[in-house]
């Protein structure tokens, strides 16, 4: 079966194609060269005037695992706003609340309707990885994967405190990637979640965890080095210390230098770009942060843009979420210490444009987007659902591509916040090519998905087709066609076929002796057997719908 997508305008940054008119042939789920004349073309779709991109990849979205499910359970009121009888109910604006805590089924459906064909859960607690995979397994339509959290687990901190050599650390990191079926490693508030269990309330980059006498900087050095040494493509995913705190930009800038040039990805950087200027002691440090990113070529970031409306913040960062719980809206929250492995904090939040801090957070995110020069090193996220539900991406894309729309929105903000932001002085408008870089080619390159995020021969045929229009929000909200692994799954905004996607992992080799220490630790201190901590391929694929794909170099 060969499908021909004819005459589309192709935006494929991986191959430098910027709106090139080109035909694409699909066979057996892959993009193929132009077939021989004798080969039969089964279906031809004329895409004259349409924009063709690879399927989008969300490299940071909380789609599965314990935190999200606690949020669902805690916030039944979010679901009540969903008007099931309205046919357009699934097209969500930035103010929808039900998409802050979508069911797994809705998660997959809403992503594919927007032309996203993969999403990565960025905060898998290793002990909870099985649940994350179960939830992702119940998420249809898209490919999935996750980053396992290390750096606050007592096993790792004991290694570091006992001055274990880098090889030992590397083996433990590789073992964790294998055991949890993940594709990357994340560290959240390095050492801080653990320090909070010893009643420390804040932790700076060079401050020691009191019990282990280990600093966040040491943790970052050790883990970034391990990920790099193991040949894992996805750089260490870093949620910096001091999230959300006024003045935290210095920690963020210092963190950029903590890995001695080894690649690191600083996530939801917006939440880490705050200065203390002005009467309210809260101001934008976006210019300094953007300069830091521009100058540090080993650093990549995603933004974690906030958009106004009701949402919920779900984070592994118990230390900072415990502080944020005072701002919960509605007034409830969950803070949890988990299994000497990590923690979680779930705090509902309502971002309001008339609120000074929220308005400035909105502006700071956009200032960073527009001031970072290289679209290959910055990624479009709202840290779903923490800044806003992922369903608001089309709105965010319009803010980036349309200065007058952005300036109009800015004019609605709290006036004091307007006075503290230079957003309107920035004229930049993102191009379709840059959007395709951020949401496709760059994301695939960052994570190490060699056959996704581009439209070259051999690539998986994850393809999204849009109608170019002036209103970029409308354009990106409702593609004309979405193909997943070569199958037409969305047509004119409607799902026409249900598929289940794959699970992407990295499985670097490690010295089997690593299990000696782990076995002893589990026997003495844990409450489950080491063997039950490990997740097999079969567990993920046994239902017949899923498949584990390993991207080890």
């Amino acid at each position: 079966m060969i499908i021909l997508l004819k005459n589309g305008k192709v935006y494929d940054p991986a191959h430098g194609k910027d709106g090139v008119k080109q035909d694409i042939y699909i066979r057996d789920g892959r993009i193929i060269d132009k077939p021989a004349q004798t080969d039969h073309i089964d279906e031809t779709i004329d895409l004259n005037g349409k924009v063709v991109m690879a399927g989008a990849i969300d490299m940071h979205s909380h789609i599965g695992g314990g935190k999200v499910n606690i949020a669902r359970m805690m916030l039944p009121e979010y679901q009540e706003t969903l008007q099931y009888h309205e046919p357009e109910a699934h097209i969500c604006g930035p103010h929808c609340t039900h998409d802050a805590t979508p069911s797994t089924i809705n998660t997959g459906m809403r992503y594919i309707e927007m032309g996203y064909t993969a999403a990565f859960e960025p905060a898998i607690l290793a002990i909870n990885a099985r649940q994350a995979h179960l939830e992702m397994g119940d998420t249809p339509m898209i490919d999935k994967g996750g980053y396992a959290m290390l750096g606050n687990d007592d096993y790792f901190l004991r290694l570091l405190a006992n001055k274990a050599d880098q090889k030992t650390i590397n083996d433990y990191v590789a073992w964790t990637l294998n055991a949890t079926q993940t594709i990357g490693i994340k560290v959240v508030n390095p050492g801080g979640i653990n320090a909070f269990k010893f009643n420390q309330r804040r932790l700076d980059l060079d401050e020691n965890n009191t019990h282990y006498a280990v600093s966040p900087r040491q943790i970052l050095q050790s883990l970034s080095r391990a990920v790099h040494d193991l040949g894992v493509t996805k750089p260490l995913h870093v949620h910096c210390n001091n999230l959300g705190a006024a003045g935290n930009f210095q920690t963020t800038l210092d963190t950029m230098g903590a890995s001695d040039g080894v690649p690191m990805h600083l996530t939801h950087i917006q939440f880490h770009s705050y200065d203390t200027e002005g009467d309210k002691k809260f101001s934008s440090a976006a210019a300094k942060i953007a300069e830091g990113i521009n100058n540090n070529k080993h650093i990549t970031v995603d933004v974690g843009q906030i958009l106004f409306g009701q949402t919920v913040t779900a984070s592994g960062d118990t230390m900072m979420q415990h502080l944020n719980a005072n701002h919960a809206n509605p007034k409830k929250s969950v803070i949890m210490d988990i299994e000497c492995d990590g923690g979680c904090g779930v705090v509902p939040f309502k971002y309001r444009d008339e609120n000074y801090v929220n308005a400035l957070q909105w502006a700071i995110g956009l200032e960073i987007f527009l001031s970072v020069e290289d679209p290959w090193r910055i990624f479009l996220t709202t840290d779903h659902p923490n800044g806003a539900p992922f369903t608001s991406y089309p709105h965010l894309i319009r803010l980036l591509m349309d200065k007058s729309f952005r300036d109009d929105a800015f004019g609605q903000l709290n006036l004091d916040a307007q006075a503290m932001s230079n957003l309107t002085a920035i004229d930049r408008e993102y191009s379709l090519y840059e959007i395709a870089t951020m949401t496709r080619a760059g994301a695939a390159k960052l994570i190490g998905l060699r056959d996704r995020g581009h439209l070259g021969v051999g690539a998986a045929a994850d393809i999204t087709v849009y109608t170019e229009q002036a209103d970029k929000e409308a354009m990106f909200a409702k593609p004309n066609y979405v193909f997943k692994d070569g199958q037409l799954v969305v047509k004119d905004g409607d799902i026409v076929k249900v598929v289940w996607g794959k699970t992407h992992t990295a499985k670097p080799d490690y010295d089997q002796n690593v299990e000696k220490g782990l076995n002893e630790y589990f026997d003495q201190y844990h409450t489950i057997q080491l063997d039950n901590f490990k997740i097999s391929d079969d567990e993920i694929a046994a239902d017949g719908r899923n498949q584990v794909v390993s991207h080890t170099k």
Partner: protein, 391 residues
Amino acid sequence: MQTESITNTTCPACGMLCDDVNPTKTTCAKSAAFFAQANVAKPSIAGQTATLEQAVKKAAELLKQSTQPVIGGLSTDLTGFRAAYQLAGKTKATLAHMNAVTTWRNTKVLQATGWQTTTMTEVKNRADVIVCIGTDIVKHNTRFFERIVWPKKALFVDNEDRDIVYLGGEGLDTSHGTSPKGKPATVLPCDPALLPEVTAALHALVAGKQLTVDSIAGIAVKDLADVAERLLAAKYATLIWVAKDCDFPHAELTIQQITQTVVELNKTTRAGALAMGGSDGDTTVNYAHTWLSGLAIHEEVLPDHDALLWVNSFSPDKALPTTDAPLIVIGNPNIALEKEVDVFIPIATPGLDAPGTMIRVDSNVILPLKQIRETDLPTLGEVLAQVEAAL
């Protein structure tokens, strides 16, 4: 596959899901009874032995005739629940769990104020003051003290430095609260129905309030104040309850007093709340229902219905539900059919006759269940798929 050769299997007999169990050597009576179950039974229709095909056909007929079916009981594991969820979608059935009443005592607190909780490995390694409120825990989770409170080794606390308090409840087995070297627990009993007052008083004392009475529910206020002081001085206090033991009206308000006491403690020191108990896959079913649908499981054990498909894999001794509607029972081969049911289909029990997956009562930890012996019985998933095909 021989039971004798299994040394580390997961036991689904309570919410603790011990995964170090040797079925022939376990010291836990619940676990021993679970692994000793027979797995011989035949399907029946109205009390008459039938083939599986006939029973499935009859079940499908009854569901087809129904306009408001309920798939209830749901004593099963994750694999079984996924199948039930799918059948519910096909039949427009409401899903409900047999433990809904106790589950919702906790869920109401989560939805009203949230909480600050901890998990068993944290308690094992960190907890220096443990208060068991209205419960001895061991009635529900036999090995809790053996595995969690008195381990051979812990990371940050020595057993003899642990301080155990039983607050409220009566007729409790408090013997497990004595340390290995004989340090006794503090026991402050009271009528379980008076727990609301006792927990409110403890919360007030932890928050620094003065009480104007000398005793609450028969417990001297000075003893309560002493507990409050020990909690405030603790490095990692843990307050534990079992929703099933909070069997009085508006128990959620009492549980909320407990969780808000923990919130108060966390202003100056560290503490965690821990809901123990759990049975019949209640945690598993509630969590999976939540991620599949976006909402927690139904609040009622038996919502209105005109046909009832009752699933019970783990509690064969539990009485069948009372209903005038057609009743289909799918579950444990040892279920006592004390009355005639329309359809009975015995199935393989997860963790014994079939593999499976379960979520532990403290959430976050998800464990595989093993099949440890051969059986001819079908799994719940296989039966429900056949029912679906016959609709």
